[in-house]
């Protein structure tokens, strides 16, 4: 599938080309990556539920990344940066787990 191929290509580029991340992005990068993973797993779940939509995937990934970055920015400005980051990560982790569970259920159900 296109997403998996893209992911693999991206990882290979990251390993071999070793691009440098712009400095302004560096504090937000981990949260953005985890949020994008959450959107990815959600899309995978939709794929297994046979209602996968490219459009929905694109919108969800972009919105997840933007919202996560905004939350981290908000937390930094409020002074609760690390706590808010932890909270966002917890929530994203919960979502990833739930989507993975649904995927597993669908796989084993047939």
């Amino acid at each position: 599938m296109v997403a998996v191929i893209g992911l693999i290509i991206g990882i290979l580029i990251g390993v071999f080309a070793q691009p440098s991340i712009p400095v302004e992005l560096q504090p937000y990068l981990p949260i953005m990556v985890v949020a994008a993973f959450d959107a990815l797993v959600g899309a995978a779940r939709n794929y297994f539920e046979r209602n996968f939509s490219d459009r929905a995937f694109i919108v969800s990934i972009i919105s997840n990344v933007v919202i996560a970055a905004l939350l981290v920015l908000l937390g930094n400005q409020m002074g609760v940066g690390s706590q808010l980051t932890t909270a966002v990560l917890v929530v994203l982790g919960i979502r990833i787990f739930s989507n993975a569970t649904a995927i597993r259920r669908f796989i084993f159900r047939g």
Binding site: V2, A3, V4, I5, G6, L7, I8, I9, G10, I11, L12, I13, G14, V15, Q18, P19, S20, I21, Q26, L29, P30, M32, V33, A36, F37, L40, N46, Y47, E49, R50, N51, F52, S53, D54, R55, F57, I58, I61, I62, F97, S98, T101, A102, R105, F108, R109, G110
Partner: protein, 324 residues
């Protein structure tokens, strides 16, 4: 949303399947594994297959004696069939799309996933270098390692410092030794007559009187007196006087070290000029002997800097050896 319809279909499946524990909403309860009875699933035909499977199952379960509510099953079957008709119009992914748009969205999906991969690898590389991301035990270990390295390097530095000191001392000593050696060489050279010398001393001019030649013995006495007075370097005419210098009378004059000496004699002696002058001028000394006995004119001049430039070749001893 088609997802909603799917949920209904799923619910129908759940109701139709006998004895299967319906999984709760997202709480992670493990559903029991249901073996696939029907044919291979194909998108769009799922409901049909499932329905047929459930029908088969239903019959099988009824055959095995399991209880299933018949009206519920029928309702599910009808509902499922309706779902089939509804879903047959749609494409497998549940949306009607034109091909160009689908390619475009696929490209965007590709780009997003590439960015995700790059971001992931980038973050991985970044995380190694920041201290704030390490756990406490790792930090403690890092601190311990750093302290150990500090100790090691300090001891190494001390070792190297002491080595440097000893080498410096050795170099100093060597320089000192070299200096001493040079001094010794100079002194030895001056004494042996292999090096020119300069310093304060006296210049003695002796001119012979008519008919009275000064014998070698007189010259020898003069040299001896100068030596006794502490002359460090002596030169007579062109001959550098050393320990092995001899004077001998010959038919044509005084021979010294194979060189013929002719009057007037100029004797240069480097040493304490006062003492040297006294040695010559003392009453009853060689000066007066020369004047009285040989009617020679002796003039002694004290000089601040006297240059003795004549040297002699160093000689190697044939018999004498140093004691090892």
């Amino acid at each position: 949303m088609s997802r909603h319809s799917r949920k209904h279909a799923v619910k129908a499946n759940n109701k139709a399947t006998a004895g299967v524990k319906k999984p709760a909403a997202i709480t992670g309860e493990l559903p029991r594994f249901v073996p696939e009875n029907g044919p291979e699933e194909r998108p769009g035909h799922r409901i049909v297959a499932a329905s047929s499977a459930h029908l088969a199952e239903g019959s099988a379960s009824s055959a095995s004696g399991a209880q299933a509510e018949t009206p519920g099953r029928n309702r599910a079957r009808v509902k499922a069939r309706r779902q089939v008709q509804r879903t047959d119009n749609l494409e497998p992914n549940g949306h009607k799309k034109t091909t160009a748009l689908s390619i475009f969205t696929q490209i965007i999906v590709l780009i997003l996933c590439i960015l995700l991969g790059v971001g992931y690898m980038g973050q991985q590389r970044n995380v190694q270098s920041s201290y704030s991301s390490l756990s406490e035990s790792e930090l403690v270990r890092l601190l311990d390692e750093t302290n150990q390295k500090i100790d090691q390097l300090t001891s190494q530095k001390n070792q190297l410092s002491s080595q440097l000191e000893s080498i410096r001392n050795a170099v100093d000593k060597q320089a000192e030794l070299k200096q001493m050696e040079e001094n010794n060489q100079k002194t030895a050279g001056v004494i042996a007559g292999t090096l020119p010398a300069q310093g304060p001393g006296v210049r003695i001019r002796i001119s012979e009187a008519e008919g009275k030649t000064i014998p070698a013995s007189a010259l020898f006495s003069l040299i001896e007196e100068l030596r006794n007075a502490g002359a460090e370097a002596i030169q007579i005419n062109t001959v550098r006087v050393v320990t092995s210098t001899y004077f001998s009378d010959s038919a044509s004059g005084v021979l010294s070290d194979g060189t013929l000496l002719q009057a007037p004699y100029t004797v240069l002696a480097i040493g304490d000029s006062n003492a040297l002058r006294n040695a010559i001028e003392i009453s009853g000394g060689i000066g007066s002997t020369l004047r009285v006995q040989y009617k020679a004119t002796v003039s002694v001049d004290e000089k601040e800097t006297l240059k003795i430039t004549h040297i002699r070749k160093p000689r190697t001893f044939q018999y004498a050896r140093t004691v090892e």
